[in-house]
Amino acid sequence: MSKAVRMITVVFASAFLFAAGCAEKPKAGDEGMAPGSEAGKGPGAGVGETGLGDVPKSVEESAALKDIHFDFDKSVITDVSKETLKTNAEWLKKNGAQKIQVEGHCDERGTNEYNLALGDRRASAAKNYLVLLGIDAKRVSTVSYGEEKPLCNQQTEDCWAKNRRGHFVVVTK
């Protein structure tokens, strides 16, 4: 979507919210509602709407933030991962203005759609643990990549273990 189109969508969405309200009220600051049909048709017949959540537009890698790892088909934070998350939380406390995103990843075994749900759960588990350590939940977003972004491409236990990870990136926009 081009910037101009996005702008139009946002403006139109706001107008729509005022004019008509929405079918299911979005949580404040979390999700807005935007029309699914093209702008320009005008409100009324044919107007649809869909959730358009707030997501980071760009992120960058940070050497200070370390990956955590998971067992096969599990999203439990292991004791080793807890130590890593404490280190990552320290970084967040020292860099109070920064926001991060946790990416949940899986190994290639199993079906893609289930792995996307599993990756989502892993990212949420990592986020929840950071919140438990005192980090403001608003500073930590999550995204699942399932098995779609492997670090390692061999079919070995070592490689699969590397791919089952929570990866942390810094939100830049």
């Binding site: 079918a23 959540g53 997501v55 893609n112």
Partner: protein
Amino acid sequence: MKTYAGLHRTTIAFLVFVGVMAVFASEASAKVYLDINNPGGRRLPIAVPSFIVLEGTDPAGAASEMAAVIAGDLKFSGFFEPVPAEKFIEDPRKKALTREEIHFPDWTAVGAEALIKGGIRLAGPRMEIEIRLFDAVQGRMIVGKKYTGEIRDARRIAHRFSNEVFKAFTGEDGIFETQIAFVRREKDHSQIFIADYDGANAAPVLSGKEINLKPRWHPDGKRLAYTSYKRRNPDLYEVDVASGREKLLSGYTGLNLGGAWSPKGDSIALTLSRDGNSEIYLLDPLAGSLSRLTQHSAIDVSPAWSPDGSRIAFVSDRSGSPQIYVMDASGENVRRITFEGSYNTSPAWSPRGDKIAFTARRGGAFQIAVVNPDGTDLKILTNNGASHEDPTWSPDGRYLSFSSRRNGRHQINIMPAQPGIAPLAITSKGTNLTPAWSPRRP
């Protein structure tokens, strides 16, 4: 009994580029040749010799390609066994196309009980093809058709005649003109492709270089729902296949996955994690309104509609491992239907309603299994050393497509939905995943 139904049709759905010029006169009969409900039964031996070039030159080899496509379709169907060409004894220079011209003992002598004969006239990019199906034993024509089109339509026309043959012998419509959408994973992105059901004519649907996942057909066969990361979040989109026009269907923060259109096309079952955990919702794509079907702290994912729209199969790990469940389309009456194994995912409800296919992990490998919607009669269909995932049914509910990994890479395969049959790979380039078999198009 329904047979030779194709002969009595007076109107034929035309493609823009393929016209059926004439239906030759024929002797219809009430004989049913093949028992469609006994797919493991005897295969009918059929000869499909290379078509005969009657006029013009055939540099692209359309004459032999069309015969090969028809033989391939019929062999794949499980109901026919093409007679190998090296057995043929008819003089290939003999231009025998009609009942009067064909010496049928040349064909019965090599074991053929049915025979397909085609002739092509080529002129520039255009061609005219006449194809006839014969009962070789009785020396009678069963179906005759004349088609016109461009040379590049050769495969399409061949598939169309395969449908005629299938209909004539079984009384049911064939699936040889359907397509399969799938994901091709590249180094740093993945793309939605559509190919003919046999893998030919594979082409990308979208132009972007994002991660695009899990295509699912709208029941009109013109649109696909899919999940794309173009906004750095797994959002659900639809694309009109002919125009390539995309539209956002659902962009909530978190997962927007697996857009399964209801059989009527008025509702989309999908997975959202907007409430902190993956749950299954129904989205009304026009109103944008959501209703939540599952309420559980476990993973709930991969909704698949029953063909009558009354129930939805899905995956949940609420028991501690991912298993297949069935619920009413209202979200009520949730019942677990798989109890064997610790990993059962990606349900696909047969268009016939009687089976649910899914991915079953057995001994470290993944297999394609089917089970009745009430959980009875579980059967593993694949068992050939490879790993298989993500089944999708052909619109007649007789065949399955899925991805299979042999020698490292996943490829799209097709197979009759019965145990003990070797799957047929229809892709060979790159890594190909998550097929979705198209509906039949009018």
